[in-house]
């Protein structure tokens, strides 16, 4: 090795450079194989229906599903896949926000599901008008939707986050009810804005930003003047809607619930 008193300022720099070059060239194969492993690794399924994916497959899925969901509105499954493949950090954030609230913690512990076998729709129909349960069943009837049409989560690589995603999907209709938005394009975009601001899921952000492209020209001005500002206000000021334990609040009056969650009264939708 060079004797210390021979190392001048310039020599020190060249020694450092040579050391860096040596490290890089000898470590390159390991770096490359690490990249290859990260991109192509496979792991075991963690829950029913789980398809473990690696970075490369995730990239193909997110990009492909965003393109198809924009160009072919009939492919609802692509929107779901988009949410799952690109939503990891947003799901982590959502889980943290749920853990910060007591009701959210209970939801995460009990893991309730919303489908026609866990929710007694007939009983909810018998509740008085103005209650959450009755308004929900009215929403299902008027818009001709059912709680059973939600796809199971497949591409989230963590059991707890998979449940958060599933809960998000299943409570989507209830968010529609709370916000008073129908399932036409305007209503969906408004709900997407609220969800995007609250959850931060890239799929919601994409839907909120690109969804209005499909709005009919006559709706665009009302969208910009009325619904969009309202949706943004609600999204930024109301409490986190994933923390609402809906199954315990069927009998609660919906206006009271909206006040509790600081949701501004919805404008009329045509």
């Amino acid at each position: 090795m060079l004797a210390k008193n021979l190392i001048t300022c310039h020599n020190r720099v060249s020694v450092a450079l040579i050391q860096r070059l040596y490290t890089t060239t000898t470590q390159t194969p390991y770096i490359l194989s690490w990249i290859k492993e990260e991109i192509t690794k496979k792991s075991e399924p963690l829950y029913d229906g789980h398809i473990p994916i690696n970075l490369l497959q995730r990239a193909v899925l997110s990009v492909g599903s965003s393109i198809v969901s924009l160009t072919d509105p009939a492919r609802g499954d692509m929107i779901a896949v988009n949410g799952e493949s690109s939503g990891h950090s947003a799901l982590v954030r959502m889980q943290r926000k749920m853990l910060e609230s007591e009701e959210g913690q209970q939801i995460l512990m009990e893991r309730p599901k919303i489908n026609s076998s866990t929710v007694d729709i007939e009983k909810l129909k018998s509740y008085p008008d103005g209650t959450l349960g009755r308004e929900y069943t009215k929403f299902l009837e008027v818009n001709n939707v059912s709680p059973d049409t939600r796809l199971p989560v497949r591409f989230v690589d963590d059991v707890d986050l998979a449940y958060v995603m599933q809960r998000y999907r299943e409570t989507h209709d209830l968010v529609h009810t709370l916000l008073g938005c129908p399932t036409n394009m305007l209503g969906e975009v408004a709900v997407k804005w609220v969800e995007a601001l609250q959850t931060g899921l890239p799929m919601c952000i994409g839907g909120a930003v690109f969804g209005p492209i499909r709005l009919k020209p006559k709706n665009r001005s009302t969208y910009l003047s009325k619904y969009l500002p309202w949706a943004i206000r609600v999204g930024s000021t109301s409490s986190f809607l994933m923390n609402v334990f809906y199954e315990r609040r069927w009998e609660q009056d919906i206006t009271e619930l909206r006040d509790e969650l600081k949701i501004e009264t919805p404008p009329g939708f045509l």
């Binding site: 192509t40 490369l56 497959q57 193909v60 492909g64 393109i67 492919r75 896949v81 497949r154």
Partner: protein, 315 residues
């Protein structure tokens, strides 16, 4: 007369020739086909011993289940089959199929061809167009009623009715209604056809989905006449290590997500790429063809071994 037909067609027992001639004549009417419904599939699967296991992609399943599961895969993919082929192979599958069909020509008039696992009709339609082009070029007049037996005929057979339905729609869309085409829903391991009744047996991208490949090869040997030709186009193994890595990465990392995006079905495409890996190598498959009785067996690699054409003669 000596009516016992053996299910495992490699034995050439006496059989009622009249019955089969009548049946095979009927096949030339394009609307006649025999449906394999679920109960038939169960009958097929009952022919396997309980403990026998086969490969289904990288999984190992009882042999009796494979036919049903493959049937389900192709039922799921049938409607998107052609567009997925284009997406997965970036359109190269068309070049492979064109080359494959070119290898069969020139075909003398009156050739009886069977295209097994020919579901959506890619090979059969290409053959039809080439035969018409060849006849025009050689000025062969086949419209005379007395000469109708000189007209070639193509029988398209597939175990899956959904695939055949897609094929018939395509034939209508492409204006390829022809007396030369007929359709049959049957299992390649148990074809309801007479011995020595075809001149050319082709199978493209179908033989790896059969539960027991050797049975399909035996059936092919049985129904071909002496001098008949067996042609098989199938995915095979790439030897070059670098290309193999690229091919594997593309197959496992890109095709299933693309299947999910384009067709909404990850698992079927996962099965398809895994079944390619499980298929025997080019040399091993050549040996299997020779074991079935074919001679002068050769193979030719296309695209570095991604796809291979095997050819043999019943001599």
């Amino acid at each position: 007369m000596f009516g016992r037909m053996s299910l495992f067609g490699s034995s050439y027992s006496f059989r009622s020739v009249k019955m089969y001639e009548h049946f095979s004549k009927g096949l030339h009417v394009s609307t006649c086909f025999k449906t394999i419904n679920k109960s038939n599939l169960e009958n097929i699967s009952k022919t396997y011993h309980e403990d026998k296991t086969v490969d289904f992609g990288f999984q190992t399943i009882p042999a009796s289940e494979k036919a049903q599961r493959v049937h389900k895969v192709f039922e799921n993919v049938a409607s998107n089959y052609d567009i997925m082929n284009d997406v997965m192979s970036v359109g190269i599958h068309r070049i492979w199929k064109d080359y494959f069909v070119k290898k069969m020509f020139p075909l003398p008039p009156g050739t009886k061809v069977i295209d097994v696992a020919g579901g959506t009709g890619d090979i059969a339609f290409r053959m039809l167009q080439s035969i018409e082009r060849q006849n025009k070029h050689l000025n062969i007049n086949v419209t005379d009623a007395n000469e109708s037996r000189k007209n070639s005929s193509i029988l398209i057979s597939d175990i899956n009715q959904a695939m055949l339905d897609v094929g018939r729609e395509r034939a209508i869309k492409m204006n390829l209604q022809s007396d030369m085409l007929s359709w049959l829903c049957a299992d390649a391991q148990q074809l309801p056809l007479a011995d020595n009744s075809f001149d050319l047996y082709t199978i493209a991208f179908g033989i790896r989905n059969v539960t027991e490949v050797s049975k399909a090869l035996d059936e092919a040997y049985r129904i071909l006449r002496p001098g008949g030709r067996f042609l098989c186009l199938e995915f095979s193994h790439v030897k070059n290590p670098l290309l193999k890595w690229v091919y594997d990465t593309y197959s496992f990392q890109i095709i299933p997500p693309l299947g999910e995006v384009v067709a909404g079905d990850w698992k079927s495409y996962q099965y398809l790429v895994e079944s390619i890996r499980k298929f025997p190598t080019q040399d091993r498959f050549k040996d299997m063809i020779e074991e079935a009785g074919f001679r002068s067996v050769k193979y030719e690699n296309l695209t570095f071994g991604v796809v291979t054409i095997h050819s043999g003669y019943k001599i």
